[in-house]
Amino acid sequence: MRSIGARSIGICASGLPDWSRASRVLTDVDAFQPDSSFYRAASGLPLTESRRINETSRLACLAAHDALVSLPESAIATMPAIFTSSDGDGAVLSQMLRSLAQRDVSVSPTAFHNSVYNAPAGYYSIATRSTAPSTTVCADESSFAAAMLEGYAQARLTAGPVLVVAVDVPFPEPIQALGLSDAAFACAIVLDGASGDTKPACIARWAIVDCNASMRSTDPLSKAFGNNAAAAALPLLRALARGEPACISLPYLDSTWLELEVIP
């Protein structure tokens, strides 16, 4: 497979509130310190939407904004976007399930429209006024790798920039018992299929390979984000922060991995 540029990165998670601070942590300049101040308001939304926005959408918008902050508005308005989440929004789902369990089977209209899987994509398009296409994909715990593959395909075919955003948030009990996400983590990466544009790095290989335990990429911070499937991005983000060549294996379907090679 061809190599694709990795143009910019955004993040929103505890102790990793934005890419400039996260890259200092991921290059071991600063120590990782959990910090809940990453929970802030998303920018660019009209009042109604900013009042109604749910957690996955807010974190996804914050991570996307962080990745796009240095890009011109005209580029954002035409950039296709790909969103992914393994489990969707825990608070919204839990609220819906509790009200559906009542005799009158009713739900709040806002909870319902926030429960659609593509809610982050909807809020993002409103915040950025981008009418460019977006899609929302899921592959359970392999969701980040699935979104990266969709990003690869789109970047190659458009020969331009494509935004990939992954988000998962904690689920309350008792539905948490399913082994769903128990932490908040969102990240965004702008892939670029334009030839020659490989700053600050490019990502090559893009091979789906059978499981080989010795090759598995883990990250020292993985434990801090528990079962969060979006945090599978951490080894890739660390390699990009360090600007060093690296081989990364992201968990993919049924004991396979998506192998990526980071070339600074």
């Binding site: 559906l100 409103i126 296409p133 977006s134 592959a139 593959l149 690869y152 395909a153 190659r156 379907l253």
Partner: protein
């Protein structure tokens, strides 16, 4: 850049109209709605009509498949069993290898019904019973049915679930196209599976979008949607032959509102024009448009404005949601296959339940099925979050 046509080698669909393509086509040709008054045993009553797949409750997934049982997986299993579809997929596996065939499935709720029912049992529990609801991750996750279909068909290529509300299983065609073009797979199975669930029934009702009777697309007195369930699958293979080909996909975002369409249908216009441009076709070369046509007041008005902006008032259009109901995450594949069948049979389905066309709507609505000669047709799918997808199909030259 003009895209290369992608042959539809095989297709199957199951919905309230019937099990398998022939049953659905006959139902559309006869022109009677398959909607029925709400009669779901597992819900308290709702005053609406639904598109329920008959006898889905009696479908059993063979234990040999070791598949988690859920309404959604039963619907997928039932559908895959029709039209020799699995045989056609086996032939594709023999041609390309199982790791070179991608799988792209659209859904909005996957197996959530089982989670809803488990929660209800848990909330109503007595203190002596289990302290947790009986939940299953491999039923609940949005990717659950895709995993089941992948194992059942023996596919080992790239796979993903697309969940973009009511455009989900239209957008699977766009993803499959990209994966094939980018060399990530050689052929693809696309599909959509969405079954009736409390979340969607109660959710659309909370937004005042549900009709009290059978839905009436484009009718003056239309008052909302009828929710249905459906499954559909298609095999796309650039190296094989099929009478119909996917010519192009157009996608856009409204960037307007989470649950209402742009009033002028601006996003829908973008998607339709993108599909036309990619196929290198002018509006006059499209002989039929299968509308999203949900029968909500706002959707039909916005879509009509978009259609007349792009096509004018002469291109024949119809909505088949009065037959099947709005099958949400399966609406895209259902109507893509209906559009392909229309082209293959040179016939346009009518708009059942539309008795008096809303005079505010200007598109050339076909109310009764009729024969027509045409070479290209479009299928529209729009959804919450302002997601739009238009697919163009053509007779293979």
């Amino acid at each position: 850049m003009k895209s290369r046509p992608l042959p539809v080698v095989a297709a199957t669909l199951t919905n309230a109209c019937g099990t398998g393509s022939d049953a659905v086509r006959m139902s559309l040709q006869e022109g009677y709605t398959a909607l029925r008054p709400f009669d779901l045993e597992w819900s308290s009553p709702m005053s609406t009509w639904i598109g329920r797949v008959p006898d889905l409750e009696s479908v059993r997934i063979p234990t040999g498949l070791a598949a988690p049982d859920s309404r959604n997986n039963r619907l997928a299993y039932l559908c895959l069993d029709q039209d020799d579809f699995r045989k056609d997929v086996s032939s594709a596996v023999a041609r390309h290898g199982s790791d070179r065939i991608g799988l792209f499935i659209g859904t909005t709720t996957s197996g959530i019904l089982d989670t809803e029912l488990a929660y209800r049992a848990w909330v109503g529990r007595t203190p002596t019973t289990s302290s947790r609801p009986a939940l299953q991750r491999d039923v609940h996750n949005m990717h659950a049915t895709t995993s089941f279909v992948r194992r059942h068909l023996g596919l080992r290529g790239p796979a993903q679930t697309v969940s973009t509300a009511c455009s989900s299983s239209a957008k699977v065609f766009a993803s499959a196209w990209r994966f094939i073009q980018a060399g990530l797979c050689d052929a693809a199975v696309v599909g959509g599976v969405d079954s009736l669930a409390l979340s969607t029934l109660a959710g659309f009702r909370a937004l005042n979008l549900v009709s009290s009777g059978p839905c009436r697309p484009f009718d003056l007195l239309r008052d909302g949607i009828s929710i249905g369930e459906a499954a559909g699958f298609a095999l796309l293979d650039p190296g094989a032959d099929g009478p119909i080909s996917l010519l192009s996909c157009g996608e856009s975002s409204d960037a307007w509102h989470m649950s209402s369409p742009h009033p002028q249908g601006a996003g829908a216009v973008l998607a339709m024009r993108m599909a036309l441009t990619a196929a290198g076709l002018g509006p006059s070369e499209v002989g039929y448009v299968n509308l999203h046509g949900t029968a909500s007041r706002a959707n039909d008005l916005a879509e009509d404005r978009a259609i007349t902006t792009v096509f004018g008032t002469k291109t024949p259009v119809s909505s088949t949601k009065g037959f099947t109901g709005h099958t949400l995450g399966a609406a895209g594949i259902t109507e893509a296959i209906i559009t392909s069948m229309s082209l293959a049979c040179q016939w346009i389905p009518g708009t059942v339940n539309c008795d008096a066309v809303d005079p505010e709507l200007g598109a050339a609505l076909v109310r009764k099925a009729r024969s027509q000669t045409f070479t290209a047709a479009m299928s529209n799918s729009f959804g919450f979050g302002g997601t739009n997808c238009s697919l163009l199909f053509g007779l293979t030259r």
